[in-house]
């Protein structure tokens, strides 16, 4: 027969084990859902003469309100499929729109003629890179770690993704703008 202090100790130990287990599960779940903070590079075709864009120009381009580059090449927008962290970051940082607003913007803009470019949607960052490699006027985005020599990274407001105060990041910035 167990005495009262022994039962109490066992109950405390069981409680502690349960708390530890719950904490472990939450940590791994956080690691799966929350991506590590990383810069998002704006990439264009290697032949594109543009090296730098202001954030304002970048918004104009991505909103489809500009049809051609300065060299005369037609602009083609490349987006990742909905749900991808990079797309979410772009909607947040460039478009300041939700997915629904984004779709409505392009449908309405193309109908009214205010938007000249309809974005192409690709499933993977590799697809984005290959698309941009094949289309001289294409512009898109990938994580900095997905960048390779087939595409060219452009500066935004004079800053490269490696720079500390580069604005386009996967996770929202905690500071006030």
């Amino acid at each position: 027969m167990l005495r009262r202090p022994q039962i109490l100790i066992i109950a405390v130990l069981v409680l502690l084990a349960e708390v530890c287990a719950q904490k472990t599960v939450r940590t791994s779940a956080d690691a799966q859902t929350l991506p590590a903070d990383e810069s998002i590079a704006i990439v264009v075709n290697q032949e594109n003469t543009v090296d730098n864009l202001t954030m304002k120009d970048l918004r104009t381009v991505f909103l489809g309100e500009r049809s051609h580059w300065t060299n005369g090449r037609r602009i083609t927008l490349v987006m990742l499929e909905p749900g991808q962290p990079e797309r979410k970051a772009m909607l947040r940082e460039i478009y300041h729109m939700s997915e629904t607003d984004f779709n409505r913007h392009f449908l309405q803009g193309l109908f009214t003629g205010e938007v000249f470019v309809s974005p192409k949607t690709l499933a993977t960052p590799v697809g984005v890179r290959k698309f941009i490699f094949n289309v001289p006027g294409a512009i898109g985005y990938v994580r900095l770690s997905d960048v390779d020599s087939t595409v060219k990274v452009i500066r935004i407001d004079g800053r490269l993704p490696e720079d500390k105060d580069y604005e386009l990041r996967l996770l929202p910035s905690t500071g006030t703008k």
Partner: protein, 492 residues
């Protein structure tokens, strides 16, 4: 007989024949093995030649296979990859899915890389100006097509299908047609090259077959000539031997008939009572005795020669001094030398080592040499017999040399190589009616060789001859005196 006729009617051919016969005879002297060795050498050369020829033909075929067949296969692959480049581009036109379009663009680029590499490889392998020219044109046309293809792909991916189709129709189709024509021309060049190489291989094969037939004919001819030469050499040998034997029989008959006639006449005179006085009887008796001895020596010589030829001679070997040998020789030749009015100067180096041999055989050997010196000594009636020790720089080459020198008629240089041949008699000697059997020197030679030595000769016409018997000295420990009966060594 026929040979004589042939020589008379066709002197030049006869001269050639004579030279050939002399050559064959000389060769046959060193046995037919030499001829067979020559045949074997020539046959080996022929086989090597045939193998090299076959290998050359084989290499030709391999070169043709690598050059033409693999080339054609390569050009087939090139055509396929070029088509694949275009096909993948056109597939991209059939879909609106950007992901699929990118995949097709990727496939097109992969195929175009293969084509570019293959063209580069073709240019590297180009062996003539024509191939180089076509290769460079293909390269330029391909680059032109790729530029159009890139534009078409870009338009497809941008979503401008109409623009892409326009590009393809105005630029893509004509430039790809040019590429196709270039590829066809390259293929045609390969075909021509293959045809040319096939002709070369065919010619090479025919040449090889011709050579093989030629070589076989040559081999057959050579073998026939060789067999003929061997047979002829044997026949010449047999003829020569037969002639020598006939000469020998004639010579022996003559040698026998003369003393027999003298003996018969003397005996007849005695029997008829023509000789009555005691002095005359003694004279006739001496004549009969001398000629009987001459006959006995002749018969003994023939029998001894026959036994040495058949290997039936047993030599009783024992150590002897040179003085002992000289004594035996002088004793046995005294009568002949005295009767011929010759003098023999004997000179032996003091302290000569002993010789191991058969005394009577060596004595016979030297007797023959002395007998020859008497027979051919001419008017200068002195014979020198010397013995001395010869030391060479090489170890174990010490020998005793015993020379018999005369100052007579000498031996012609053309006769020298033959004087040790059985039954050989120099034509000049025969012409001078000097009697002999042609067995003395061969017998002396075979005895010298049986004793481990040899005989050499130096001679000059009209000056004289020196025959030297070379005998090895007895080595220490090579002969041991044993108590009873074993002091004789028998050599066969």
């Amino acid at each position: 007989m026929s040979t004589a006729v042939q020589r008379t009617s066709r002197p030049k051919a006869g001269a050639h024949h004579s030279i050939l016969d002399r050559f064959l005879f000389e060769v046959s002297r060193y046995s037919s093995t030499l001829l067979l060795l020559m045949v074997f050498t020539v046959e080996t050369g022929v086989v090597i030649f045939v193998i090299r020829d076959l290998r050359a033909a084989d290499s030709e075929v391999q070169r043709m296979y690598v050059g033409a067949v693999l080339g054609l296969r390569g050009i087939g692959g090139l055509q396929y990859d070029a088509q694949e480049t275009r096909r993948a581009t056109l597939y991209a036109l059939t879909t609106n899915d950007s992901n699929l379009q990118v995949e097709y663009a990727d496939q097109s680029r992969e195929a175009d890389r293969k084509v570019t590499d293959a063209i580069h490889e073709y240019l590297g392998r180009a062996r003539n100006d024509r191939e180089l020219e076509v290769g460079k044109r293909l390269q330029e046309d391909w680059i032109r097509y790729l530029k159009v293809r890139d534009e078409v792909l870009a338009s497809i991916l941008e979503g401008s299908i109409k623009e892409a189709v326009d590009y393809d129709l105005t630029g893509g189709v004509p430039s790809f047609d040019r590429v196709r024509q270039d590829l066809e021309e390259i293929k045609r060049l390969y075909d021509e090259q293959a045809s040319r190489q096939l002709a070369v291989v065919d010619a090479s094969s025919r040449r090889s077959a011709g050579r093989l037939v030629g070589v076989l004919c040559f081999t057959l001819l050579f073998a026939s000539v060789s067999i003929w030469a061997i047979q002829r050499a044997k026949m010449l040998n047999a003829l020569k031997l037969a002639k020598l034997q006939m000469d020998f029989v004639a010579s022996v008959s003559h040698e026998l008939r003369t003393p027999l006639a003298v003996i018969s006449a003397s005996a007849q005179n005695i029997a008829d009572g023509v000789v009555e006085e005691k002095d005359q009887l003694a004279k006739y008796g001496a004549v009969i005795r001398n000629h009987t001895r001459q006959l006995t020596e002749l018969v003994n010589q023939i029998l001894l020669f026959a036994s040495t030829r058949e290997g039936r001679t047993h030599y009783v070997m024992r150590p002897m001094t040179v003085e002992e040998l000289f004594e035996s020789v002088l004793r046995n030749t005294r009568e002949v030398v005295r009767e011929a009015g010759f003098m023999v100067d004997v000179q032996a180096e003091p302290g000569l080592p002993q010789i191991l041999g058969d005394v009577s055989a060596l004595s016979q050997c030297l007797q023959n040499l002395v007998g020859n010196a008497v027979k051919y000594g001419g008017t200068h009636r002195r014979i020198a017999m010397r013995a001395f020790l010869h030391r060479s720089e090489l170890p174990h080459t010490e020998e005793i040399r015993i020379s018999v020198e005369d100052h007579g008629i000498g031996i012609d240089s053309t006769d020298l190589p033959h004087i040790f041949e059985p039954f050989y008699r120099s034509p000049s000697v025969a012409a001078k009616q000097i009697h002999g059997t042609g067995l003395g020197l061969p017998l002396a030679k075979s005895i010298a060789e049986a004793m481990g030595g040899k005989i050499t000769v130096v001679s000059k016409i009209g000056v004289g001859s020196i025959f030297t018997l070379h005998l090895p000295t007895m080595k220490k420990g090579s002969w041991q005196d044993e108590p009873l009966g074993s002091d004789l060594l028998t050599r066969q």
